[in-house]
């Protein structure tokens, strides 16, 4: 399958004539975005999830340049365990310094469902490893904004070279709305793909077991229930998965 990595981030001028955002929804191509301002256009249905998240952080950072020197994204509660992350080059060494155990602005933003601003890196005592590293990288402030992508927990972290000015959060709204839609849809799509793949595998296994039962029913003139019992008992006796017992029988014409 050809992967479409086209990302039209475009430019974004903070607070200047940002048009009213219309409700964005996937169009026929599965692309999210609107035409009111330079949208985040990510074909999440044709891209690996990791590539989508990379596109989100790159796009978000482009819109905040030159104020942002690095952008990170953390995604929790995806439904398959663990967490997902993405970061632009300027944030690659900073993002690992915030985590579920060590904490960090993004995790606090997710937990509190509100933005977290670290405007004074020297004065912030909770995440000293992160703030020290940020300061060495020339960062003046950190801004973490939760995405609206429930039940997923996610947040963007912007590493800023200047102090966030008044009104910045409001100006960021379109960026956050875009990122929220893309992340929510991309994770949901990936989850559905995973479930579909698992179900396909389950149905193939079921079919194989059905074939094996058929072999036993024909050869031993037994019922379907009894054929299943034979396979089941062999599975237990040999500590093999039922599917493997069935496959052996179908391929070799005898039980393992």
């Amino acid at each position: 399958m050809q992967r479409d990595t086209n990302l039209q981030a475009g430019s974004y001028t903070l607070g200047l004539d940002a048009p009213v955002r219309e409700v964005a929804s996937p169009d026929d191509d599965g692309v999210i975005g609107d035409s009111g301002f330079e949208p985040l256009r990510v074909a999440y249905h044709t891209m690996p999830l990791e590539a989508v998240l990379d596109a989100v952080v790159r796009s978000a950072e482009v819109r905040l340049r030159p104020l942002a020197r690095g952008t990170g994204l953390v995604v929790l509660r995806t439904g398959w365990g663990g967490e997902l992350r993405a970061a632009t080059a300027g944030a690659e060494h900073l993002e690992p310094l915030q985590s579920a155990t060590a904490g960090g602005p993004a995790f606090e933003a997710i937990a509190g469902k509100r933005p977290v601003v670290v405007a004074d890196l020297d004065g912030e005592q909770r995440w000293q490893e992160l703030t020290s590293a940020a300061r060495r990288a020339g960062i003046a402030a950190i801004l973490a904004v939760p995405l609206d992508a429930e039940p997923i927990g996610s947040a963007l972290t912007f590493y800023l070279v200047g102090r966030p000015r008044s009104g910045l959060l409001g100006e960021l709204r379109p960026v956050v709305d875009d990122a929220s839609l893309v992340v929510a849809n991309a994770v949901a799509f990936a989850r559905h793909e995973l479930v579909a793949a698992h179900l396909k595998e389950a149905l193939e296994s079921r079919d194989l077991i059905g074939q094996a039962k058929g072999v036993l029913m024909a050869r031993r003139a037994m019922s379907s229930e009894n054929a299943f019992a034979v396979l089941r008992d062999m599975s237990q006796r040999t500590n093999r998965k039922l599917r493997d017992v069935a496959q052996y029988l179908v391929e070799n014409g005898e039980l393992p």
Partner: protein, 88 residues
């Protein structure tokens, strides 16, 4: 063993084995379908929580799914089948 006692024993056996194997409801349902189970996820949930009685064949499908999961992790499938559970 009375029917309510047997139902409780089946639920406890399956629930305990699921917990021990770290097997979630979604994964259990996929494994259950893979070995021949045909009930929907909500029905399986009802079976496990006691909102619906577990028939022996459904119990065996669920036991097999848990055992297959254990085997895939390199462990021994230790959940007894229905006839072993009730000593039949």
């Amino acid at each position: 063993m009375s029917t309510p006692q047997l139902q409780a024993l089946m639920r406890e056996t399956l629930g305990g084995a699921m917990q021990a194997a770290g097997l979630g409801a979604d994964e259990l349902w996929r494994g259950y379908v893979a070995v021949g189970g045909s009930e929907l996820p909500g029905v399986v949930d009802d079976l496990l929580t006691g909102r619906q009685a577990i028939e022996p064949d459904q119990y065996d499908f669920l036991a097999q799914a848990i055992n297959d999961h254990a085997v895939s992790l390199g462990n021994r499938g230790a959940v007894p089948y229905f006839h072993q559970l009730c000593g039949a």
